[in-house]
């Protein structure tokens, strides 16, 4: 009978993580909207809401420690609990980055818009989809989907590089644009970091499903 309770607790752990991921995705959406629509009030709300994600991070950590101490899980159960602990940290950092984007948005909104925002929403959307797909892969234990996320990370890196070159040209042409261009390149960097966190989650999902650690392996390793 204890097994049934344990299974329920594992299912609840997955639910909590999915809820945390939903909140983190929403934070990304709202942070990007605050930047693109120049809505500082919305940016402030994102900053205020970060504590909710932090609270879930602590809650998930505690649940995992309790499961490890009381049930001493093995095999797939063990991989699920340890993976959940790590994914929760990744999501918490993703949410911190949304907070950082919101802070830069508030600063940018105090000056005229440097340029129409085209690439940043594209990178943002890609990063958000990567986060969503990595979490979907976790919930469904789908390592194929997780491996797709790993490939998508290269797209984000390419776009980020392209945007950086564009912002550099702005700064070289007109030094008055430097503070805004630097803030925008920070935003791009935050989004690129988000995609990296999604990649970490995807790698953890591959470990969960296949028992293979693919982190820090050379790029030649077949995906």
């Amino acid at each position: 009978m204890a097994q049934r309770h344990f299974d329920e607790e594992l299912a609840e752990l997955k639910n909590k993580l999915a809820r945390m991921a939903g909140l983190a995705e929403d934070q990304i959406d709202k942070a990007l909207a605050a930047l693109v629509t120049r809505d500082s009030a919305l940016a402030c709300r994102v900053i205020e809401r970060d504590h909710k994600v932090n609270a879930l991070d602590v809650e998930i950590d505690e649940a995992c420690i309790e499961l490890l101490a009381l049930h001493q899980p093995a095999a797939h159960d063990l991989r699920l609990v340890t993976t959940a602990m790590k994914i929760s940290t990744e999501l918490e950092r993703i949410s911190d980055l949304s907070e950082n984007i919101s802070e830069r948005a508030i600063e940018l909104n105090e000056e005229p818009q440097l340029k129409p925002y085209i690439d940043i929403p594209r990178i943002g959307n890609l990063a958000r989809v990567m986060v969503k797909e990595s979490i979907d892969a976790f919930v469904k234990e789908d390592s194929k989907l997780a491996r797709k996320v790993l490939v998508d990370d290269d797209l984000v890196d390419d776009l980020m590089e392209q945007l950086f070159r564009e912002l550099l040209s702005f700064m070289m042409e007109n030094p008055h644009t430097i503070s805004r261009a630097i803030r925008l390149s920070f935003v791009a960097k935050y989004l690129e970091r988000m995609a990296d966190h999604a990649t970490n989650i995807a790698e953890l999902v591959v470990y969960l499903v296949e028992g293979k650690i693919i982190r820090h392996t050379s790029p030649q390793v077949p995906l």
Binding site: Q3, A74, A75, H76, D77
Partner: protein
């Protein structure tokens, strides 16, 4: 590490096998009456390592262990097939020309419940040595002290060596049985659920002892306690219905078993 080194132990294809063996069974089958209790079991026993046998009740793990010292020979109507090789020398201890007494001289066994002889602490440990013909008092005393030290019991009993063994606590009695087993310098120590009758502290003492002992003696342990197998063993064999389901490095078997049956058993979903 005495295994065939592979850079990563990540997938079932990467599974490793012990290289230096103290013993191994080859296609071992065992039956009593009409009942086939072991079916074609081949397990390597790595030298100076702890190999754990796990599996649900009735899976044949104790039967397997008892084949090693030919304990089943004491009962009529039993039948072995296959081989149990003891290395070095690859001596098949099931061969017709092998005397079970000779086999038992090379191995030692400790059972689930402590079973000291109704004699003094000293006599319990000295017994096997005397049977082997050691009579010199000083040499006997030295060996007894050495065995009691190996079993982490010396400090507790050095002032009461003439006390009855049954006056010791359960945990001490079990360590005394270990000392008795170790006194004759066995090549292979067979343990049949040695801590199942002990409290957690006595269990922890025995587990610590096993980890120290494996520097000197190869250990094969049957345990119902999966956490114990995970904590102390280097290699684990999972048996079910008299067959070997999976054998592998303990750290691999408990984190990423290759068979679903193993996964279900170690995660408590059957058995």
């Amino acid at each position: 590490m005495d295994v065939m080194e592979l850079p990563h132990l990540e997938s079932p294809e990467d599974r490793v096998w012990p290289k230096l063996l103290k013993a191994e069974t080859r296609a071992l089958s065992f039956s009593y009456g009409n009942r086939l209790a072991l079916k074609n079991v081949s397990v390597p026993i790595a030298e100076y390592k702890i190999t754990a046998l796990i599996g649900p009740s009735g899976c044949g793990k104790s039967t397997f262990l008892r084949c090693f010292n030919r304990m089943h020979d004491l009962y009529p109507g039993t039948r072995y097939e296959g081989e149990i090789l003891l290395h070095p020398g690859s001596r098949n201890i099931l061969a017709r020309d092998v005397d079970p007494i000779e086999v038992r001289m090379r191995l030692a066994m400790v059972f689930q419940k402590p079973n000291p002889f109704p004699k003094s602490v000293y006599e319990n440990v000295a017994y096997g040595l005397k049977v082997r013909g050691l009579t010199d008092r000083r040499a006997l005393e030295e060996k007894v002290e050495q065995a009691l030290r190996s079993a982490a019991l010396w400090e507790e009993v050095k002032d009461r060596l003439s006390a009855q063994a049954t006056s010791l606590s359960g945990g001490q009695q079990q360590r005394l049985c270990m000392a008795r087993a170790l006194a004759t310098d066995p090549e292979l120590l067979l343990l049949d659920e040695p801590t199942s009758a002990l409290d957690p502290i006595a269990t922890a003492n025995i587990e610590e002892l096993l980890l120290d002992l494996k520097q000197r003696v190869t250990i094969l342990i049957v345990t119902h306690n999966m956490q114990q197998a995970a904590r102390v063993s280097d290699w684990t064999a999972f048996m079910y219905l008299g067959e070997l389901v999976e054998f592998g490095l303990t750290k691999q078997l408990f984190t990423n078993p290759s068979k679903k049956q193993t996964e279900d058993y170690i995660t408590g979903r059957f058995g």
